[in-house]
Amino acid sequence: MRKLHFIYFLSLLTITTQVFTACNSCKKQGVDITQDLYVPDSVIEVAPPQVSKAVTEQMMQNISSPVETAALIKGLKVPFNKSFLANTKQAEKFNTNFEKAFALGLYGCDLGYLNMYEKTSFVVDYISTIKRLADDIQVGQFFDFNTLKRLATNNENLDSLILISQQSFNRIDAYLAETNRSMLSAVIVAGVWVEGAYISSRVAQINNHPKMRETIGEQKTILNYLIALLKVYENDPSMANLIDRLNKIKKIYDEVKITYEIGEPEMIEENGVLTFKQTDKQIVEMNDELYQELIAGIQELRFDLLKL
C-alpha cells in the first residue's frame, strides 16, 4: 500500500512538473518594448534607431524578408535571372559558424527568389546547400528538407514551398534565440539583406522603373535597423568586421534623403474583407550619381562578402 502511495505521489509530482514546464514555455513574451524602439515619424531624415536586445530578438526575422523582396521584383514583371543568384559551389568557402550563418541567410534569400518565380528545378540544389549549412551550425533539424525536396521535385503546391521554407527559417530563428545564439540569427538576417539588396541592385541596372529606384533608396531605413540590431553583438570581432563593411555602404546611404507626409488611414470593407489603406507618403530623394554609387556599393559589398 505504501508503495502504491509512493507511485501516486511520483506520478503527481511528474505531472505537476510537466504543467510548470509547459507554463514556462508559454510565458508572456512581451515586455513593453514600444518604449525601446523609437520610430521617427514625420521627420526630414531617418535617424538611426536605438534598439534593445529584447526588440532585436523579436524583430529579427522581419528585418529582411526574401519573399517580400522577390515579390516586389516579380511585381514589376522583371524576368527571372539565374545569374543574380549566388553559386551554391561557393558554400564550401564558408568555414566558421559566423560565415556559415551569413551564407545561410544569403542562400535563403536566393531560395525565396526561386520559390517566387517557381523555378523548382533549381530549388533542390539550394535547399541541399541550406540544409548542409544549417546542419553545420546545429539547426538542420528545423529545416524541413525532405518535405521541401518532395514539393520541389514533384512541382506540387508551390504555396506550400514558400510556407515551409519561411517556417523553417522562423523555427531556426526561434531555436537560436532559445539557445542563446541570437547573434547567429542576426548574421542570417544580414545575409538575407545583403543578397536581397544585391538582387535589387542587379534588377535596377536593367530596369528603370521608379519603384526600383525607391526600393534601392529605402534600403537606407532597413539598413539602419539592421546595423542597430547587429551592434548588439559588436563585441564579437567577426560581427565588428561585418558592421564595418556595412557602415561603408551606410555612409553612401547617409546622402539619401527620405521624407514623409503623414495621412489618416482609409478603411474600406469589400466582400466582407476589411482593408486599411495607409495614406502616408514616403519620398526618397537622390540624384543619379548617388543612385549609381549605391548600386555599385551594394554589389561590391556582396562580392566582398562572398569572397569572389
Binding site: I7, V39, N62, E68, Y260, Q282
Partner: protein, 145 residues
Amino acid sequence: MKKILLSLLVALIGITHFNKVKAQSEEELVQICTMVAGEAEYLKDFRIKLDAGDPPPVQRFPVLLKKDIKYRFTVCNSKDFEGKVILQLFDNNRQLATTYIVATGKDYPYIDWVCTKTGAYHLVYSFRDGKAGLAVGLLSMVGTM
C-alpha cells in the same frame, strides 16, 4: 503489482496526453490561421498568451513593413480559452488598423493593410474585456501594389 503497473500506466497516459495537448494547441492554431489567411503568403506567426486583467494586458511585437506591399493580419483564438483576441496595428502611438471595430462591435478574422511607408510598426494583441486567452496572429503577404 497489477495496481502498481496500472498506476504507472495512468501516469504515463496522463503525461503523454498533456504533452500532446500542449504541443498541438499553438501549432494547430498556426495551421488554422494559415488556412484562414487563404492565398496570402505566410511570413511570420506570433503566439499570444495572456492572463485575465483590468486594464486588459497586451502583448506587443515590433515588425518592419515595406512600402507597396499589401499585408494580411490574421487572428485565431484557442477554443480552450474564453478570450477573443484583438489586434491593433500601431505606428509610434498612432493606431492605424484593428481587427475589432468598436463602433459596430464587429470582429474580423483577418484584415488587410496596404503599406505606403517602409518602417517599423507595432502589433499589439489583447483579449476583449481583459479575459484570459490563447491565440495566434499571422503576418502574411497578399501581394504587391
